[in-house]
């Protein structure tokens, strides 16, 4: 198994302030890592730094063993794809046209598409389950469909590493399951490495191999979800009473609010 991405004591500064520091992890082929933590803990910052959008002020970010800053933008784009939190839906674009933008790092000087490029676009659309939407205008699609189209665009890059910033935050339960199921399938079947920023800890625990829990720009926990998601650590990290249960079907941790400490969130006043 090859290491696709590694962080070693990474610090990222925004406007002179260190937003994250001392971040160390490794992500290899076929692995899915969830990036979790409270709002403002630096999840998106790490995702953006991993995608080469922010430089490391200290420490080292490596893409397949080479320092990320020394990798050319084109080479980086052929290895690593990134889908932003709010994927763009540029007006006038059909789904196929948007997915085809993912071929850019593979095009030559004049930007002409070869049959190989067209085949890659179709394959990406099939894998992301948007093939039947091909000629629909992107603006007409639902949020879940747009997210899938963005992932198809990222897959058209033929990356080894996929970085998704909160792919499920605006989606209903069905689309959440289908997006994360897609990521899981790609990692299992094609050995794709994936870094996924996600808020929902229970959902993260279900589909990721490892979980990086951030608090105040530093690592609060790192490892398999069952090891990281313990009640004392979560209560400290999120500053609210929480309990960790077991999923009835697979024993994966499920995080719920505890009524001890703040009974007022319950509709029964916590007296039951």
């Amino acid at each position: 198994m090859n290491t696709q991405l590694s962080f070693e004591g990474v610090e990222v500064r925004l406007g002179g302030r260190a937003v994250v520091s001392g971040v160390t992890f490794e992500l290899g082929d076929g692995e899915v890592m969830a990036l979790c933590g409270p709002n403002g803990a630096g999840k998106s910052t790490i995702a953006r730094a991993a995608a080469g959008l922010l430089p490391a002020a200290a420490g080292a970010i490596r893409l397949r063993g080479s320092a990320l800053r020394s990798v050319s933008p084109g080479e980086r784009a052929r290895t690593c794809a990134y889908v932003a939190q709010q994927p763009a839906a540029p007006p006038g674009f059909a789904v196929r046209e948007l997915v085809a933008l993912g071929r850019l790092p593979h095009l030559g000087l004049f930007g002409a598409e070869s049959p190989k490029d067209r085949a890659a676009v179709e394959r990406a659309m099939e894998r992301a389950g948007v093939f039947s939407l091909g000629s629909r205008p992107i603006g007409e699609l639902s949020g879940g469909e747009q997210q899938r189209v963005s992932i198809a665009r990222a897959l058209a890059q033929e990356p080894r590493l996929l970085i998704l910033d909160e792919p499920t935050s605006n989606l209903d339960l069905r689309f959440q399951a289908s997006i994360l199921g897609l990521v899981r399938r790609l990692s299992r079947d094609e050995g794709l490495a994936a870094l996924v920023v996600i808020h929902d800890l229970s959902l993260a625990a279900l589909f990721c191999d490892r979980l990086l829990l951030l608090a105040d720009g530093g690592i609060a926990g790192y490892g398999p979800p069952a090891e990281v998601l313990t009640a004392p650590l979560l209560v400290r990290t999120y500053g609210t009473p929480l309990r960790v249960l077991s999923h009835p079907e697979c024993l994966s941790p499920v995080v719920v609010h505890s009524l001890t400490g703040h009974p007022h969130i319950a509709n029964q006043g916590g007296e039951a």
């Binding site: 995608a51 959008l53 933008p73 084109g74 784009a77 007006p91 790092p105 930007g111």
Partner: protein, 346 residues
Amino acid sequence: MVAGPAARPAARLVLAAGIPTLVAAVIFATSVGAVSIPQTTVAASIFRHVTFQGEGGAGAADTIVWQVRLPRVLLAGMVGGTLALSGATYQSVFRNPLADPYLIGVASGAGLGAAIAIVSPLPLNYYGFGYVALFAFVGALAAVALTYELARSGRTVPTANHVLAGVAVSAAATAATTLVMMLNEAKAFVVFSWLYGDFTTSSWEKLQLASPYVGASWVVLLLCTHRLNALQLGDDEAATLGVRVERLKIVTVVVASLGTAVCVALSGLIGFVGLIVPHACRLLVGPDNRVLFPVTLLFGATFLILADLGARMVLAPQELPVGIITAAAGSPFFLILLRRQRRGLP
């Protein structure tokens, strides 16, 4: 009114149709005038000249075609294509469907620069074309940067802000241009008649002087089309697709402004070409700049050739400034786009 992607005619077909359409417009516009010359004679005369088969075989008609009308038609085509291509570029870079060299202040800035050059003691002959174009270029760049900065709020530039800032910068530049004219009454008429779009002084020399700059801007912009496509995803995603975003934006805006400035120096302020043509073409061929840019270039040239023909013929023998024809066609178009924009349509 939105043509769905499925309803688009094959983009390459439109591109292929653009060339014969342009040739037909050139021949038609050259044949029409105070003296009507049959289109076959025009075609034959042009053919003789471009194949170096000697001058003046057909006497007066040949002189009118080759020395008088054709330079004017070709200049109008060059300016129309360049303004349309610049408009398409600004629309792509600023992700603003209403961006047009005229509306975002570039043309007025170039106009101010050119007016200063014209009234200055610098020589105003063909050799002086360089000064007028240079001053226009500086004015264009200053205006585009000022408009962008005024409209910016944080890291984004809202479409409406951008157009409003463009209106403000245009107004300021126009006021300054008027002041320049008032202070130099002797040359005021030269500035004034040029300002509203004028192809009457067209010549082969002008074409020759302008074509290296204009040609270079075409080549650079046409080579950037696939990268400009990626920019439609937003700066971050474009960067992760391997685009050097800031460099691309600076290069394309500077080059489009160079093209605009040369056009302004050649023929004054001609508005709305950069708005109407790219939009109409986008409805036909879709948003892929690799096809849209060449189509826009061809149809921009055709559009301004026909608009200039209208300017010559509507009140013949008197001539209208061509800017009035394009504004008459363009302002209703702009209002429709603005309404659609408000409703979130493309």
